[in-house]
Amino acid sequence: MKLRCLSLTVLILLVWSGAVQAGPVMVIPEPSIKIKEPVLEGATVRGEFEVLNQGDEDLVINKVSPG
């Protein structure tokens, strides 16, 4: 009986944690880019960032706001 209760609890927890994980999950593997070589003043520096979705629903980027 005790074992059955424990199994049921574990099952509920697993289902609940699965529900929490559901939806889009944003992952940025390299959120900070450092340019190795010094650049000359006036140059435009560019960096490309990969935004991954490791969730089970579509990830929508609503906005990228400069800070």
């Binding site: 340019i35 560019r46 960032f49």
Partner: protein, 145 residues
């Protein structure tokens, strides 16, 4: 993400916030960092400072040397110090190095802060600014109270 480095020197770090529909982490910060070398090296400094006394004309020169591989030309020069200050420039090495001189006749007591704007040719940065401060103190009489 791109950063225009005009007007920056030294380490520059710019950030942006990525806002998504990920309810666990709606915002994530991304950042881009670079070391920016000045377009022109200034010797002895990027800033003029002229302390003097009334009746003692004074001047200071800064030698600007380009870090660009291509020739750089100063085509014109403006300043906002007013008529009590004079600015001159000459080529030390044409296309590479220039001497800029700020001077005052120190005719009256004053404190002037201003900028010298160099108009450039040969770079995507059209102007370059030097700042300065002229301080003309009252004449010392030599009488001690």
């Amino acid at each position: 993400m791109q950063v225009d480095t005009r007007g920056y020197k030294g380490r520059v770090r710019k950030s942006a916030l990525v806002i998504t529909n990920d309810t666990q982490a709606v915002n994530r910060t991304i950042s881009l960092e670079a070391a920016v070398r000045p377009l022109l090296e200034a010797e002895p400094s990027h800033r003029f400072y002229i302390p003097t006394q009334v009746g003692r004309p004074a001047k200071m020169s800064i030698v600007l040397t380009s870090n660009l591989p291509e020739p750089l030309k100063i085509t014109a020069l403006d300043h906002n110090f007013g008529p009590a200050a004079q600015v001159e420039w000459e080529a030390v090495e044409a296309g590479r190095s220039y001497r800029v001189t700020l001077s005052t006749q120190a005719e009256r007591e004053m404190r002037l802060a201003g900028q010298i704007i160099l108009h450039l040719e040969g770079t995507n940065t059209e102007t370059y600014r030097l700042t300065g401060f002229i301080e003309v103190r009252a004449k010392e009489t030599g009488i001690k109270e």
